[in-house]
């Protein structure tokens, strides 16, 4: 049996107050695409950060082609043949796409000047495999999140690496982009590269990986051959229990809580009208860039509308700041958690309490006993792990950060909740919890809007779906007419459909996938 390309041997990593990895061992062969699965906080990113030289292990070693390697910093890891796509975008917005891709090892002319043209040429060819429309000379900051993620992937392809580690590379990508990425990854494998692939999207992992290692709470549960196990079994290993397959239930009642008419923004949204009922979950689907995030930001008061009216319980409201929106009972769980969601140095309780100071400090002084009690109650409800309410939120995994943000609105007693990609980067277990939570909220009479690029998620949750295209509502689908094909058909611009492009939704059907 040949020496595996990559071996983790008894890796442990201890952070202050947390043992993130405990005696982790598994190996990945050359040409193998290896899934790495686990719930939020299981330790996947930590392991890959050790592989890429960002963290040093507390104990254990990494072997490449049978030889132990010292990965003291990212440069050493790169020299050892490791390329990594990080979970959080690691980019400099003010530099160009190509400059970002070559950051740290620029091509030079005569060793002195940066060879811009050459960098851009090579960047373009690396990008071409996934999204040829990205201009390598554009400032990275002008790109959308999805495009930025593609840049991140293309950067890893520039190196002729022996090992490519991908930490949730598709969290902002559409299925069609994933399709192309899958082909690229298959190409890497053919060239003998070992790929470690982390994703919470199990169908992706089952689609492209041969084997997978499942982690739970910092330890390896098992390494399995994916051809021989079911998705259900893998999920059970991840969460340590069976997840019930839940069905959609509607709690919508008669009265309209939120009514939007002719809403428009200067930038993108055009003439959007809809109503949202008490206890209803409204899904919003659409392609990347179709204006969903911007619509939510308008409703949350984060951006100003240029036209249109918004009524809540029949009363016209002006939402010119998030504060006003919150007072009107609207709260946003944003798409970019790190940038718009958390205050990194502050504790879980503080982050949770931020939007409801009037509740916790009715007389101007914060009632810390009450805060503790509410925080503990809400965080139990969302199942925070580890359950450390006073720990700075930056030390938590992405999924747990998301839970705290949801907890923020639970504490504030918000009646209209806006979720933008609520389960992005969130594991199956927590995902199920969040779905359950959303339904509970609806059952309690909350009104919910869910924007998601994952069509199964929209279909699972929504009582009704608006499909957006180019900033306008292209269609409204009720449950009876709701299907992935139907959504895809409305989401894709007609010309593109005719040209046979596959910008369709996830399982947009065989015809869309060709």
């Amino acid at each position: 049996m040949p020496v595996p390309r990559l071996q983790f041997e008894s890796i442990s990593k201890v952070f202050p107050a947390v043992r993130a990895l405990n005696d982790v061992s598994f190996s990945v062969g050359a040409g193998e695409i290896h899934g790495l699965l686990g719930e939020n906080g299981a330790g996947k990113s930590t392991l890959l950060r050790i592989l890429s030289g960002v963290y040093r292990p507390t104990a254990g070693s990494v072997l490449i082609d049978g030889r132990p390697v010292t990965l003291n910093n990212p440069v050493a890891a790169r020299a050892a043949g490791v390329a990594m796509i990080h979970q959080e975008l690691q980019q400099v917005p003010r530099l160009s796409v190509a400059q970002n891709m070559f950051l740290g090892h620029p091509l030079t002319r005569g060793g002195v000047f940066v060879a811009r043209r050459e960098q851009e040429r090579r960047a373009a060819s690396a990008l071409a495999a996934i999204d040829p429309s990205i201009d390598p000379a554009a400032p990275l900051g002008s790109l959308k999140v999805a495009q930025r993620q593609i840049v991140e992937i293309a950067r890893a392809l520039l190196d002729r690496a022996r090992i490519v580690a991908m930490d949730e590379p598709t969290s902002s990508l559409t299925p069609s982009e994933f399709e192309r990425l899958a082909q690229v990854i298959a190409g890497l494998a053919r060239d003998g590269v070992a790929v470690v692939y982390v994703s919470h999207k199990l169908d992706e992992v089952f689609g492209i990986c041969q084997r997978a290692t499942i982690m739970r709470d910092g330890v390896v549960v098992d390494s399995v051959d994916l051809a021989k196990v079911s998705e259900k079994a893998v999920v059970a290993m991840m969460v340590g229990r069976e997840l019930a397959q839940e069905q959609h239930r509607s709690h919508a009642s008669g009265d309209v809580r939120l009514s939007v008419r002719g809403l428009a923004s200067a930038a993108k949204v055009r003439d959007v009208s809809f109503g949202l009922h008490r206890g209803e979950v409204l899904g919003i689907a659409g392609l990347v860039g179709s204006g969903r995030t911007e619509l939510l930001r308008l409703l949350a008061g984060a951006d100003r509308a240029s036209a249109g009216t918004i009524e809540i319980d029949g009363k016209s409201v002006k939402l010119s700041s998030p504060r006003e929106a919150i007072a009107a009972g609207i709260g946003l769980v944003p798409e970019e958690r790190k940038r718009e969601g958390i205050v990194p140095l502050r504790s879980i309780s503080s982050n949770m309490a931020l939007a409801s100071m009037s509740v916790f400090a009715p007389r101007g002084v914060i009632d810390h006993t009450k805060l503790k009690q509410v925080a503990s109650e809400k965080m139990k409800r969302v199942n925070l792990r580890p359950f450390l309410l006073d720990r700075p939120i930056r030390l938590f995994s992405g999924g747990n950060q998301q839970k705290a943000i949801i907890g923020r609105w639970l504490a504030a007693g918000t009646r209209i909740l806006l979720f933008d990609e609520p389960t992005r980067g969130i594991d199956v277990g927590a995902k199920a919890e969040i779905y359950h939570l959303i339904e509970e909220l609806a059952a309690e009479g909350h009104s919910v809007v869910v924007v998601s690029s994952e069509l199964p998620e929209v279909i699972r949750l929504a009582d009704r779906v608006l499909v957006m295209r180019d900033g306008a509502v292209a269609a409204e689908l009720d449950r009876a007419s709701l299907s992935e094909q139907a959504i895809a058909a409305h989401a894709i611009p007609q010309t593109k459909m005719q040209a046979g492009q596959t910008h369709a939704g996830r399982s947009a059907g065989p015809q869309a996938r060709q």
């Binding site: 107050a17 700041s321 998030p322 958390i342 990194p344 503080s350 009037s358 101007g364 914060i366």
Partner: protein, 325 residues
Amino acid sequence: MTDIGQDTAARPRADFLHRFSMRDAGTLIGLVVILAVFGALVPGFFAERNLINILQQSSINACLALGMTLVIISGGIDLSVGPTAALSAVISASMLVAGVPFVLAIAAGLAIGLACGLLNGILVAHVGLQPFIVTLGTLSTYRALALIYTGGNPVLGLPPGFRAIFNGSLFGLPMSVIIVAAVALVAWVVLKKTPFGEYLLAVGGNEEAAYIAGVPIARTKIAAYMISGLLAALAAQILIGRLGAAEPILGNLWELDAIAAAAIGGASLMGGKGSVVGTILGAVILGTMRNGLTLMNVQSFYQLLATGLIILAAMLIDRVTRGRG
């Protein structure tokens, strides 16, 4: 490389308190070391009178540094504290000399401080200019206003009654120390126990996220600058009470001392972080140093050297005791 032992994992509550005090403990260690050194070198250093002197001499800087700490936590900086104090001082003083009742004159001086802070805050929060540059500009502007208002002359002859307010003592402590201690207590409560404190930390920690969470960003920032202006004005009242005169050039370079105190006390100029206790300790460290070096009769060039080195040393001690966090 980590600041907390593993064993604390099991008791998160203790862990938090532990962390909290660790930060200020770093500063405290710095202070204790400095006190010990001077105590060993200077006879009579620990005399009650001298210790009170140190507190009194630190009080004005502490007062400013508290305001500065709030501004720094909000992610800003206030270079204009000295000229704000000067403007407030000359206006209060000329009212006092004109016979205006004390309460009114003091109120007017404090209002000037608030107004200076308000302008800084508006330029930062509403117009969106960089705090460093805004307050660099107002630093010159406010100073010029104070000079123009007085024609460059000091305002002399403050009524003894007014001076008595700030020159008395209570429980054996000078009034200025008592006042600043009270201010510190209020600042501590504000930062730890009120929504405004949470808002400050959130705005400085992640403005975008704070905005989405409904924090009134502009109001929070403006309030921080206004408090800084108010405390500068309060410092000015204490000072003119002590000096019996107000000068338009009063408060020269105060901003640097105040920033140094806040930073030694653990405030991060990146925002989102800072401690009232730490700042007070920082101000006392700087005051102790000046006092001790003077008593040792160190020549002024070497005092300057010591000031520089001690700022660096305090930051190093701080760094070692608390880790990178």
